[in-house]
Each structure stands twice: as structure tokens, then as C-alpha cells.
């Protein structure tokens, strides 16, 4: 058994930001699905009934929107698309089989993680904007302060868009959570903020080289 090395991957602030986002996303999915299909209406019981679920949902959405904005500005640069991402995607079969020796060396994020990032970024904007149209309690304020009002026809479009975007977001969320469970050692990045060197070597070798390179020069590791 060899001694393990550790690399810092996320600061405490980044992790807190992530978990606020994660918790609000889960609460939103539960309260939203309760109103999406009658067979899931019982989920509203977790909020103290349908009326409460309806009341809390948009406020939690506001928390998510602000919190995700933090994540976005934290990570967007690291999620810019690169040439190697196309190679990674074209070898998806190797990815799914866990044959990472067939893949190019990856930076902090692989193409799958980047896609989750950008999908979520777009979906949360769509969900927020369509959600505002559906948030009746906010309309008085919006009319008084921004001069915004919505027709019933617009609210019909908003409710359909909101439902479809939410379904896609939940599917993306499942991919995100599944990947974290499947790839062992990943969760500790978001819980303790660090991963083992072996994890970095196996999954994000280019990032690991940069981190160790930085450490040698005595500069503090970045996000």
C-alpha cells in the first residue's frame, strides 16, 4: 500500500457555493415535480402541503439563481471548450468503459463536465425567466418597478417552457450526480475540497501536472 498524495481542488467558499446550489436544486425539483404530475403530488407533503410548495418554490428558485451565478463566475473560464474535448467526446465508448488510457490528458474539467456546466447555465436562465412569468406574487412588484406585465398566453408558453426545461435540468442533474458516484474519489472534492493525486492522475492528468508544477514554484493553488 503506497502513501497517497493529495491535491486541493475546491476552496471552502466554492464548496459552500456548490452545496447551496445543490440543496436548492433538489428542493426545487421536489416541489416542482409535485405540481408536475398528480402521481408525485404527495411530495408536496415535504413542504407542508401543496400551497406551501407553491409558495416556497419561487423563493428557492431565487436562491438558486443567485447561488448559481456565483458558481458560473467561479468556473466559466475553466469550462471553455477545447480541441481535446472533441477527442474526449468522440471516444465516449472508452469514457463509459472507464478506459481512460485511451483518452487525451484532461485539464480541470472533461468535456462531459463542461457540458453539464453549460447545459445547467442555459437551463437555469430559461427556468428563471419562465419562472418569473409564473410567479404571480412577484407581478405587482415587477409592474411597479420594471413596468413588466404578462398576458395569459405568455404564461401558457412560460409554463410549458418551464416544465420542459425542468425535465432536461433534472436529467442533466442525474448525469452529474451519477458521474460523481461512478467515478470513485470524486465526492471528496466537493466534501473535503481535495482529491488524491491518483484521482488527478487518472482523470485529470493535465490539471494535476499544472497543480504539482505550481506547488514546486511555491505559488498557491488556484481553484
Amino acid at each position: 500500500m503506497s502513501d497517497k498524495t493529495y491535491v486541493k481542488r475546491y476552496s471552502a467558499l466554492a464548496r459552500a457555493n456548490h452545496w447551496v446550489t445543490a440543496i436548492s436544486l433538489v428542493l426545487l425539483a421536489i416541489s416542482g415535480m409535485a405540481l408536475f404530475h398528480p402521481s408525485l403530488y404527495f411530495l408536496s407533503g415535504l413542504f407542508g402541503g401543496g400551497a406551501n410548495a407553491r409558495e416556497f418554490h419561487p423563493w428557492i428558485g431565487l436562491v438558486l439563481a443567485i447561488s448559481f451565478l456565483g458558481l458560473f463566475f467561479r468556473f466559466w473560464r475553466l469550462n471553455l471548450w477545447e480541441r481535446t474535448d472533441n477527442v474526449w467526446l468522440s471516444r465516449l465508448r472508452s469514457v463509459l468503459a472507464g478506459r481512460e488510457e485511451d483518452l487525451p490528458e484532461i485539464g480541470k474539467y472533461n468535456a462531459g463536465q463542461k457540458m453539464v456546466f453549460w447545459f445547467m447555465s442555459i437551463l437555469i436562465v430559461v427556468l428563471f425567466l419562465s419562472g418569473v412569468v409564473l410567479w404571480d406574487d412577484s407581478h405587482e412588484w415587477l409592474a411597479a418597478n420594471l413596468g413588466l406585465s404578462f398576458t395569459i398566453e405568455q404564461s401558457r408558453i412560460a409554463v410549458l417552457v418551464h416544465a420542459i426545461a425542468a425535465v432536461i435540468a433534472i436529467v442533466v442533474w442525474i448525469v452529474h450526480v451519477y458521474a460523481a458516484i461512478w467515478v470513485k474519489g470524486t465526492l471528496s472534492a466537493m466534501i473535503r475540497g481535495k482529491v488524491t493525486g491518483g484521482w488527478g492522475w487518472r482523470h485529470h492528468r493535465r490539471w494535476l501536472r499544472e497543480e504539482f508544477g505550481k506547488g514546486a514554484k511555491g505559488t498557491p493553488p488556484a481553484e
Binding site: 497517497k4 405540481l35 403530488y41 468503459a97 410549458l160 425535465v167 448525469v175 470513485k184
Partner: protein
């Protein structure tokens, strides 16, 4: 509204998968509003307020007869006044329509409602809101083709005309019909009301209203509140009464394919994940990986 305990059978219940028996034609009731007989006295509005104990706060007079300006949680029926310049016959017509819930046979509000039992349809065709189950989401507003339900700011519940389901359950007609001094509003079985409307339409045609007709829109499988219109070819003349009302296709898509496909997609994603885990097994870091990382850190060749 637990005091409303009608001796009526439910045929439909919002957000429920119970079977939906067809309305029995014999039991169906209807209110017929003969616009050609209406004098705009608003006795129906007052009777509705009285019976249902609704008191709308007075509003600003904006120079029209409509009072209040729109339906609201405390105004379930409203006279809407339209001045129509009939250029073809060179005259000004004052069209007065008693607006309120149409009690659709295919109710868009009920279809859109996510709260089980918050909207029900009785076997006599009346569509009713049940405040105890209502969660105030406003989906009924999106489902309704007639722009009728209103959400109360006081208790976050949706309100609209009940067709006096409580009175009807006791064998009485709705309060508005009882109060109408010109019998512009009549109430009875749907079949009788259709027959009565046919007589009225014939009469109107004899008196020069060639396009008079009954408004019982087929797009929502007919309604349990119907109008006799002098201009049945142009319902929208009457303060925007929809010409061809139907549940919006957007609402149908949302409550139809999206609901099922959405759940299927979420379930499938979870199943694929589970399947992959069992097929591929966990993706684990090996001791070899850890060794390589340590050597990298120590600056040795790997």
C-alpha cells in the same frame, strides 16, 4: 367551502387518474343568457354578491358602465357593456353581456389544475372549485379559454362562478337567474335550454336579426352557460367573447405529452445510470495511479 355539500355525483376531479364517465345527458343543467332580453340592470351581479356573500371594494369610476372594471375574486359575474357601431345597418348597438364561468363540458381549468380535487365537475355539468384543496398556483387561469378564474390576494385561492351548485343541489336555480327581471337568464335542463334558445333565435330572426344564434361552443364540447346572441356569427363583438374557444394547444401539450414524456425521460436517465453501474462497475483509482502521482509530485519520471 365545506358547507357546499351537493347531492351530486362527481364525474371529474382535477389531478386524478380516476376514470372519467361521460356526462349523462339527462342530468345536465344549463343556464341560458338571452342577450337580446338583457337591460343591463345588474340585478344578477347583486344577487350573486348576496347569495355568495361577496363584497368587492368600490373602485374608481373610469367612465364606463362596467362596474367593477373586471371579474375578481369577489365578483364572479360581471355585466360587460360594448358600444357597437353596426355600419351595415347604420345604427349604434349597446351589447350587454353577463360574463362569468361558462362551465365547459371539457373544462380547461380542471385539466390544468395540479391539486387533486381542487376542481371538480359534477354529473350535472357544473364545474366547481374546492378551496380546501386549492393551492393558488394559477394554473386554472392558464387553462381557461374564457379568462374567468381569479386568484384572491387574501387567501391565495382561485374563485369563480359556482353556477350556485349549492342551490342547484337543493333543486333551486342560480341566484342570478332568480333575480333577473326580464327573464334574460333562465335555468333548467340543458335540453330544455337548447329548445328555448331555438325559439328565441327563431323569434329574433323574424325581427330582423338574421344572424341570431345560440352560443354553445363545440371547441369545449359545449358549455353549461349558453348565450343567445343577435350576432352569433361574431361572438367577439360582445366584449371579446371568444369566437372559437378551445383549451389552448400549449396547455394540452403541457398537460399531455410533456407530463408523460417528462417522467419517462427522468426515469430512463436514472435507469440508464443504474444499468451502467452494474455493467461497467465503479471507476476506481488504482494503486498504480497513486504511485504515478507521487512520483510526479516528487519530480521523478513516470
Amino acid at each position: 367551502m365545506s358547507y357546499i355539500n351537493p347531492k351530486l355525483d362527481l364525474v371529474r376531479r382535477s389531478a386524478s387518474s380516476d376514470p372519467e364517465p361521460a356526462l349523462a345527458p339527462g342530468d345536465q343543467v344549463a343556464k341560458l343568457i338571452d342577450i337580446s332580453k338583457c337591460i343591463g340592470c345588474k340585478a344578477c351581479q347583486v344577487a350573486c354578491m348576496e347569495w355568495n356573500e361577496l363584497r368587492q371594494e368600490p373602485e374608481e369610476n373610469v367612465g364606463v358602465y362596467d362596474n367593477p372594471a373586471d371579474l375578481n375574486p369577489d365578483t364572479w359575474t360581471l355585466m360587460r357593456f360594448t358600444e357597437y357601431e353596426n355600419t351595415a345597418e347604420d345604427r349604434l348597438e349597446w351589447l350587454i353581456r353577463k360574463d362569468g364561468c361558462m362551465h365547459c363540458t371539457d373544462p380547461g381549468c380542471l385539466k390544468a389544475c395540479p391539486a387533486p380535487g381542487a376542481i371538480v365537475q359534477y354529473s350535472n355539468g357544473i364545474v366547481d372549485f374546492n378551496s380546501e384543496a386549492c393551492i393558488g398556483c394559477g394554473y386554472c387561469v392558464k387553462g381557461c379559454p374564457f379568462n374567468i378564474p381569479r386568484i384572491s390576494k387574501a387567501d391565495n385561492k382561485a374563485y369563480k362562478c359556482t353556477l350556485c351548485s349549492d342551490r342547484v343541489a337543493e333543486g333551486m336555480g342560480p341566484a342570478c337567474a332568480k333575480a333577473c327581471p326580464t327573464k334574460a337568464i333562465t335555468f333548467g335542463s340543458k335540453a330544455d335550454m337548447v329548445t328555448l334558445a331555438a325559439e328565441r333565435v327563431e323569434d329574433l330572426k323574424e325581427r330582423g336579426y338574421a344572424r341570431a344564434g345560440l352560443y354553445d361552443p363545440p371547441g369545449v364540447n359545449g358549455t353549461h352557460v349558453m348565450y343567445v346572441l343577435h350576432h352569433a356569427d361574431q361572438p367577439s363583438l360582445y366584449a371579446g367573447l371568444p369566437d372559437n374557444p378551445r383549451i389552448s394547444p400549449i396547455v394540452e401539450t403541457w398537460k399531455g405529452v410533456t407530463k408523460y414524456a417528462g417522467l419517462l425521460a427522468i426515469g430512463a436517465a436514472a435507469a440508464v445510470g443504474l444499468g451502467h453501474y452494474f455493467m461497467a462497475g465503479p471507476n476506481e483509482v488504482s494503486d498504480h495511479d497513486e504511485d504515478a502521482a507521487r512520483k510526479l509530485k516528487e519530480g521523478r519520471d513516470v
